[in-house]
Symmetry: C2
Subunit: 294 residues, 2 copies
């Protein structure tokens, strides 16, 4: 365990088709004409590793493959990626929590098309410490995502529900939230349904019911979201997915944004109005999510 001021170094493995090789993350690794960079044309995943265990590895690999399919990228070789992830975890200095990113881009461009194999890598680094925000909660604002709740099925080229590299709107939404004096955002469909956060899933409590927006609304199938629903089901809540009108959020008994690395954070104020919550329940939920369970 590190005790000094030195941060442990990130670990990088480049993945090409079915093999991987260690590389220096402090050095440049990508050419300027890689389509992942010039056009945001690629997919990614963010995993949380606690004490060497990845509770949701298979779900992340499934979603990685599903995102790649949505973008017409070659299917990632799951055993190879799993091995590269394990190698990155083993190569990293021991830390309380590790954040691991998988990335697969369309690769280097020539004459308007990908010239060769996709560019891929596994990047592992010490996770940021979100303990304080898990305790304090966050202020959120609702922001229009611009799409109708049913846009996804009719227009798959909008790539709704795929975890792709074109995340500029998510970053812009977070900046807008900060501009409004908040910390995070909840996207709302143009016809008024609550969707998700820019980098998280939304969990809503009404009494003893726990709801989360359905993936049919064109949102990401959250891996942590699934674990949260199971936690609540085991704690005798009624759980389910639904189309939740954003207008009903202020009357919820609790709202959380959940994601792999930050885990569950309670929303203490929505659009400037205080929200109720249950600090003890949030603590139990995070203890569950932080446990290196299978």
């Amino acid at each position: 365990v590190h005790t000094g001021m030195t941060m442990p170094s990130p670990v990088l493995f480049l993945v090409e088709r079915d093999s991987f090789v260690r590389a220096d993350p402090a050095a440049a690794q990508v050419r300027v004409n890689d389509l992942g960079l010039s056009r945001g044309d690629g997919v990614f995943e963010s995993l949380s590793v606690v004490a060497g265990v990845m509770p949701t590895l298979s779900r992340h690999l499934e979603r990685f493959a599903s995102s790649a399919f949505a973008l017409g990228l070659p299917a990632p070789d799951a055993p190879c990626w799993a091995a590269a992830i394990r190698a990155a975890i083993e190569a990293h200095d021991p830390v309380p929590g590790l954040a691991v990113t998988l990335l697969l881009s369309r690769g280097v461009e020539r004459d308007g098309h990908a010239a060769g194999a996709p560019t891929g890598w596994v990047y592992a680094r010490a996770a940021r410490d979100f303990a304080a925000v898990r305790e304090s909660g966050i202020r959120a604002v609702t922001l229009d995502r611009g799409f109708r709740h049913d846009a996804s099925a009719a227009a798959p080229w909008l790539l709704l529900g795929a975890k792709h590299l074109s995340y500029a709107v998510n970053a812009a939404a977070l900046r807008e939230a900060v501009r409004r004096g908040a910390d995070d955002a909840i996207f709302v469909s143009s016809d008024g349904f609550a969707l998700e956060g820019p980098t998280s899933s939304l969990i809503v409590r009404f009494g003893d019911r726990i709801l989360t927006p359905s993936v049919e609304l064109g949102i990401l199938a959250g891996t942590t979201q699934e674990r949260v629903l199971r936690f609540f089901a085991e704690h005798r809540f009624e759980t389910g997915t639904a189309a939740i009108p954003a207008g009903e959020l202020p009357s919820a008994d609790a709202l959380w944004l959940v994601s792999s690395v930050r885990q569950a954070v309670a929303i203490t104020a929505l659009d400037g109005r205080p929200m109720p919550g249950d600090a003890e329940l949030t603590r139990e939920l995070n203890a569950h999510l932080g446990r290196p369970a299978p």
Copy 2:
């Protein structure tokens, strides 16, 4: 002038704040944790240089600055970028046409934020030869862009009208067009207005009127689009911007998609139905666009 089989090498200048330095485009230049890559968080421009002249340099630099502003990036130093572009053009082997890309990303990430200066570069390479497609035209399909025509003003975080790196949807739309047996796409707002192509502006002819969708619809202000309107105005057409219902496109007398490097290409079929056109007028338009006029 090159006559052999060897392609002239691309030229790369890295730009940091107000200075630039030549670098090797065949080598990796970008770190894996650059936010331009991991989140599509950055902006770009594509310029066409014919015989050393850039007819629209100031417009491209203005739009580059405007895109950077929309994303909350530091304002690019225009004189520095102009000098880097000129240096790249001078350093490149002489070719009939040069395609120059400017890119500015948020830079390398640390703890969820940009750790230092934005990553920037100017990349120049021989333009692809689009002479054949300018002559033959293309088949296009209309595809829903998912946003209402008025989404942009109310929701600036959607970054509509900014030329950012998050272009995965544009690439997906082009794949969908190919899947439908076409070559390109025209995006349509969710409430039925014609917008733009994934990498081009739309020009519509009704008799002696030339119309193009208004930028208020949340589309890119095309630099070539402006030149095309001036060309038609000088040729005694009535020109203007408008909200054009997509349902009116099939009754147009001609449709073109226009962009800096490919220039103007006529749409010969829309959603599988043949479109009329004017081959001679298209030739005159492209001769105008290809001329190294100021």
